[in-house]
Amino acid sequence: MARLASIQDLEILRDERERKRDPLRREVAICTGTGCLGLGARAVVSAFEREVELRGLQREICIKETGCPGFCEKGTLVVVSPPGIYYMGVQPDDVPEIVEETLCRGGLVGRLLYTDPVTGQKAVLEDDIPFYNHQMRFLIKNNIKINPKDICDYIALGGYAALSRVLSQMTSQDVIEEIKKSGLRGRGGGGFPTGKKWESTARAPGRSKYVIVNCDEGDPGAFMDRALMEGNPHSVLEGLIIGAYAVGAHSGYIYVRMEYPLAVENTKFALHQARDLGLLGKNILGSGLDFDVSVHRGAGAFVSGESTALMNALEGKVGEPRPKYVHTSTSGLWDRPSLLNNVETWANIPLIINRGSDWFSSIGTEKSKGTKIFSLVGKVNNTGLVEVPMGMSLADIIYKIGGGIPNGKKLKGVQTGGPSGGIIPARHLQTPVDFEELTGLGSMMGSGSIIVVDEDTCAVDLARYFVDFLCDESCGKCLPCREGLLRMREILDGIVSGQGREEDLQILKEVADLMRKTSLCALGRTAVNPVLSTLYYYPDEYAAHIIDKMCPSLACKALVSYYVEPNVCIGCGLCKKNCPQGAIEGEEGSISIIDQSRCTRCGICFDVCPPKARAITKVSGGLVRSKAKEGEKA
């Protein structure tokens, strides 16, 4: 492709692309994001290619591999356009039928359409599906229309128009004012006003400045940055180039965690294509702006997602945070002024420039503007990425979009904000989701993970899980975080294994208080949130573990026993056959008995017990208590 020497050239390319588009040619878009790939998307793509070739339909049908549109629960997703028929859970065996029925005859394959679980009604188009039609999608809407490895797909949908506008009609000050006016706040967790951050970097003295994309999405349960970087890398890149123009930077970095190999690959591809077209490099679109970007892979350290730690990692050093009194806007990467924003923040920039700050600030709540992508995961029917206006209530997100809790279970709470967040109990579900409200409930927005937990998850065990996670991830530079987490883990390990003491709760609170006041970076300061929020909202569960030595959710291994109900056991012997410890006695045809002294509580017997029998039950308290007492005597 020829280099674009001016803004007119870009418009010519866009027109040409539109003119060359064959309106009769139908498109089969197949999601090949990491989620759908994990459900077998690669085989679905091959099946389509084979089928189309077999029937000689290459000229009539174009197969497009796209990014993730969000509804991962129902992968592999396939969209046939026009008119945009949405097929879900597609397996390679379904492909010949789709080609025959839909592409050749113009009909529908009913069983692959979304079916409303209550009314049984089928939905054909994206907008008919409740998971999508309660959302407000600007950032991820295009993912299913774009092949991330083809820059022209992005350009055809109006891509790089915001950059043209900035380069031809706006000064750097205008851009900063526009971002400030929009009210956009950082999407990585802190929620710092983006425009203000840009302004201080722009004002900082120095000729070499850097702009950085933080795609070190370490919060477990969050994957919106992966979906954007993998599925629509140019939207992030366009934001970044605009940022470089605004603050006066000539080089940029995209830091992608290595756990996202596809995001690394697609980002590198995007940079190549942008460079070939002259959207990166010297004299971008003839404007005089020189700017280029390189990709830096993370090497597996949660703490390096912290902005100053990330800059250390970019310098090739150990990714430990730096003290915060030195602002990165004046002294960041290689001690030069640096502007670091999260992937989603950058992706919002072209939208704000194209549609205006007034449009952007009309969406959302008083202090939190625009839309936010949340990853709705855990025990919820429709898992996936959801983009909603700030201020939608948790209940709406979980029930209207998420379709409620599976298997008739009760919702226990919602974990937001990753390991730095807290657990919000069911009674606060009407809370509108924005930065302030979530912080007020002892949790936080974080990068936007919403992990739904039902009655099978133990609040104490979940707190222990996060503390364990952070113990592993604490860099060890400052003492409160390093030692505080270890002590908290010791105590929580004791509680979940039935060794808890009543005074433990007070010690937990004291350690948490100290960590919050004295840790060097946000990792240590917020690490206490999962512990404090569960102590506050679920005190009964802590008490049950400590005093009654039982786990009400039947989740803590050491406090649970498996038991065969003799009157429902059908004597099939499956449990005995599968028990790795040989702890189950009883011949086929007779009732099985679990030898508690040999049982390791792996739960395999519980899983394999046939549904028609359901003879194996979990109990906590009774059997365990008598065993604990025996232990004491010994």
Binding site: T34, G35, L37, G38, L39, C72, E73, E217, G218, D219, P220, G221, A222, F223, R226, M258, E259, Y260, P261, H296, R297, G298, A299, G300, A301, F302, A313, L314, E315, G316, K317, V318, G319, W334, S375, L376, V377, G378, K379, T383, G384, L385, Q415, G418, P419, S449, I451, V453, T457, L462, Y465, F466, F469, D472, E473, P580, C602, G603, I604, D607
Partner: protein
Amino acid sequence: MTDDDKENLDKIIQKYEGKEGFLIQLLLDLQSELHWISQEAIKELSLKLKIPVSRIFRVASFYKAMNLSPVGRHSICVCMGTACQVRGAQRLLDATESKLGIKSGQTTPDHSFTLNRVNCLGCCAIGPVMIVDDDYHGRVDSKKAKLLLGQLASDS
């Protein structure tokens, strides 16, 4: 290190010549060539780059992605992110550990498998997730894990 390994190392060093802050990227490249980073390789790097061994080792030992001991022919990775966790990742890990007879972070004595846990792979909607070599598998329970591991064992 074999002569081939040394040649590879030289090529990788050349790639980063004149660049700033390359150490992590270089080590990642080296690892994808040699599968792990040996003490010998660190010493060799130190000589060629004129960076103290202690600094290279500090970086290599800080980041989880870098293997400082040899790995097995197949790599198994179980995601322990929160979403996978609430959907039973711990039981999946337990089952995999007992099937392979090793703990996470270890390699089987015959060097067939290395088992690792990872904090989040970002496939949270399809958890529990397991990566077998480079392939992602969603909604894996202990039964499916047994099947996947069985396939590998019969292939090799």
